[in-house]
């Protein structure tokens, strides 16, 4: 009983840390779009990526924002040769579909202090871009 009590106290901070990224993502999301994602299209996403993200981002070069190839499943702030905000580097976010959906809805709410303020309110466009990024895996 005593051991259980000690363990439960000890695990509280650990549990808080583990759920940190997802809870931040969920609390920052103005909608629950991730629960009912619209049908996604990587080909539409490619064109949208060019038009909506291409002002600052490329797949293979750091520009105003970091390069995106391989972003899916990557830890936020992890491209070694890009200068991130301290806030994003410390965010402990992993770029899942849900995290990216949240991020694109309101990045400054998800990670206050980030350098990215671009918001994409259209859920379909977000889903398409995320599905496109999912296909742009890291080069071997």
């Amino acid at each position: 009983m005593q051991i259980q009590k000690i363990l439960s106290i000890a695990l509280v901070p650990l549990a808080a840390f583990v759920i940190d990224a997802s809870s931040v993502a969920q609390s920052a999301c103005p909608s629950s779009a991730a629960l009912t994602p619209p049908p996604e299209s990587p080909s539409r996403g490619a064109a949208l990526y060019d038009a909506k993200c291409g002002g600052c981002h490329s797949l293979d070069a750091n520009r105003v924002g970091p390069k995106h190839r391989g972003v899916f499943g990557r830890k936020a702030g992890a491209v070694p040769d890009y200068h991130y905000s301290v806030a994003l580097k410390k965010s402990n976010i992993v770029w899942t579909a849900q995290a990216l959906d949240c991020w694109l809805q309101n990045p400054t709410a998800m990670v206050p202090g980030t350098k990215m303020g671009f918001r994409l309110s259209n859920a379909q466009e977000r889903a398409d871009i995320i599905s496109y990024l999912k296909t742009q895996t890291a080069k071997p």
Binding site: D50, A51, K52, C53, G54, G55, C56, S58, A61, N62, R63, V64, G65, S85, N106, P107, T108, P112, G113, T114, K115, M116, G117, F118, R119, L120
Partner: protein, 194 residues
């Protein structure tokens, strides 16, 4: 610091292309401050605003560099070069507007990278003809339009909304001209940006 097209030639070119000047550029020529942001922003997260405006400044620096790379490529005809120089001047005005806003908010404007760094990140070595240069410019202008429209709701004051919206309008103007030169069809659906 980026080397830019010679002032003398730029002025003579601008004299013949006055109709392409943006509202911000026209105000600047009249000697009026094109933007007086910062002081009136109340209750905003100024550090966040500075961070977002610095990202926009990075976007403008890249745009200035892209037109410089195009101008130095010797791939542009004289007429197209004139337009490129005029557009670059607009981006320089945007740059000044952003620096003024960042400074008034108490922030430090980011410095531009070296031209060679922009050339690498924009893959300038792949540009083989005028069409390629214009396609790159169109992609950047279109992206910049959407970027400015996309940050408006993240900014902390109406004066900053105006700055972003006004700059987005200039970028959209550039994109429309470039799309027309490249023979792109008129978009069938509105809104075209945002």
């Amino acid at each position: 610091m980026i080397e830019t097209i010679g002032l003398k030639s730029r002025r003579s070119i601008l004299a013949g292309t006055a109709t392409t000047l943006s509202a911000a550029g026209a105000l600047a020529l009249l000697g009026k401050p094109a933007f007086a942001a910062g002081a009136a922003t109340k209750g905003a997260n100024t550090a966040q605003d500075v961070s977002l405006l610095n990202a926009a400044l990075g976007l403008e620096d890249e745009g200035i560099a892209a037109y410089q790379i195009g101008a130095q490529s010797k791939l542009l005809t004289p007429d197209v070069l004139k337009v490129a120089v005029a557009f670059q001047d607009h981006h320089k005005q945007h740059r000044e507007d952003l620096i003024a806003a960042i400074t008034r908010l108490g922030g430090k404007p980011v410095e531009p990278k070296k031209l060679g760094e922009y050339a690498t990140s924009l893959n300038a070595a792949s540009l083989k003809d005028q069409t390629g240069v214009l396609r790159l410019a169109l992609k950047l202008e279109r992206g910049a339009t959407n970027a400015y429209l996309g940050i408006i709701s993240s900014l902390g004051g109406s004066d900053l909304y105006v700055l972003a919206a006004r700059t987005a309008s200039d970028e959209a103007f550039h994109a429309a001209i470039l799309g027309n030169v490249l023979g792109e069809p008129i978009p069938q659906k509105a809104p075209m940006f945002g």
